[in-house]
């Protein structure tokens, strides 16, 4: 704290705020960089643990990250894609859009790869799907997502998992 000398007979305390402002600005910049304010593709769910899972390297997947569709399977079995809800349960077909119909439209936007010899059905799509399922959700919901993918020629799928030890 700087004070004027007694000679000047004027006690005017002035706090030097410069270092504090420097630190606070640095903190703000840090939190702005590390925070995820609106990540619509990835929902907050508890992923299952798998220590042998491949690490997802942002920007390191050969440039085809744009072709990866994140499908979130929520704890109750509801499907969320880019923030919108879909369903695979026939009883909920009137309340939410049908997942297979969405995937049909989505896969149509990507080129089709040549089918393998003897393969029947829809030619394989270049679209890749990553299924992020809550660890407690019944597997039938994940199976239904797989089924919807196969029906639309989406064979490149992966299951998301956390590598953080559950303990």
């Amino acid at each position: 704290m700087a004070r004027k000398s007694r000679v000047s007979q004027e006690a005017d305390p002035a706090v030097d705020l410069t270092p504090m402002i420097d630190i606070v600005f640095n903190l703000i910049i840090f939190f702005m960089i590390v925070s995820e304010l609106s990540n619509l593709t990835v929902e907050q769910i508890q992923l299952p643990f798998a220590n042998h899972a491949e690490k997802v390297v942002p920007g390191g997947g050969g440039g085809d990250e744009a072709k990866v569709l994140q499908i979130n399977v929520m704890p109750g079995g509801l499907i969320k894609i880019r923030g919108a809800a879909y369903t695979t349960v026939p009883e909920l077909k009137n309340e939410y859009p049908w997942l297979a119909s969405f995937l049909e439209i989505e896969a149509a936007a990507y080129e089709r790869e040549p089918p393998e010899p003897g393969q029947q059905g829809t030619p394989p799509s270049a679209l890749r799907v990553n299924i992020r399922a809550d660890k407690e959700v019944q597997f039938k919901f994940v199976q239904q997502v797989f089924d919807a993918c196969v029906k639309n020629g989406i064979y490149k799928t992966s299951v998301a998992a956390t590598q953080d030890d559950p303990k």
Binding site: V34, A50, V137, K151
Partner: protein
């Protein structure tokens, strides 16, 4: 802008920093609260069968394939269709856990049973005498009620055993 006299008696401009500091502190608190640090997220590739499963042609059956079953059983070990049940992992006739053994653990993902399953799969892979180019085919056949974490645990051990030909069995068709 406030002014004060310097030692030469001249006016020295000084900015009032209070509003800026208020805003900066508010921003800091906001970002501190809104920050969610990323957890290490990985993925396990699960290429779906193009020539097997629902809606495809004649299935190619490899007699050496391994089918890992995740059954949904009651406490007596009998399969149940209800939502309440226990997971039982089985390959052929070998049962890897008793009903409720995994569920009673706080972190069933860390049970030593999974390592045992992984070691067994590595043995199967080493002893594979089939003709498939991709090596030992493994089918994960899970009942629909099984929580996904157990299926991923099995998939994790299959990947850990360096088995490349992994497929999920088609869902059961109810009559």
């Amino acid at each position: 802008m406030a002014r004060r006299k310097n030692r030469f008696g001249m006016d020295e401009p000084s900015a009032d920093l209070t509003p800026m500091i208020d805003i900066v502190f508010n921003l800091l608190i906001f970002f501190m609260c809104a920050t969610k640090f990323r957890t290490t997220e990985g993925m396990i590739r699960a290429f779906l069968p193009k020539n097997r499963g629902q809606g495809s042609g004649t299935p190619q059956i490899d007699l050496n394939e391994i089918r890992i079953k995740l059954l949904w059983c009651d406490s007596s070990g009998r399969e149940t269709k209800g939502d309440q049940g226990f997971v039982v992992v089985k390959i052929a006739d070998q049962v890897y856990n008793q009903p409720g053994e995994l569920e009673q653990l706080r972190y069933p993902e860390t049970s030593p049973m999974w390592e045992g399953l992984g070691a067994k799969l590595a043995d199967f892979k080493a002893g594979y005498k089939g003709t498939s180019e991709k090596g030992l085919p493994v089918i994960i056949d899970s009942r629909k009620q099984v929580p996904t974490k157990y299926v991923v645990c099995v998939l994790n051990q299959v990947v850990g055993a360096k088995i490349e030909d992994v497929t999920f069995a088609a869902p059961e068709i109810e009559y």
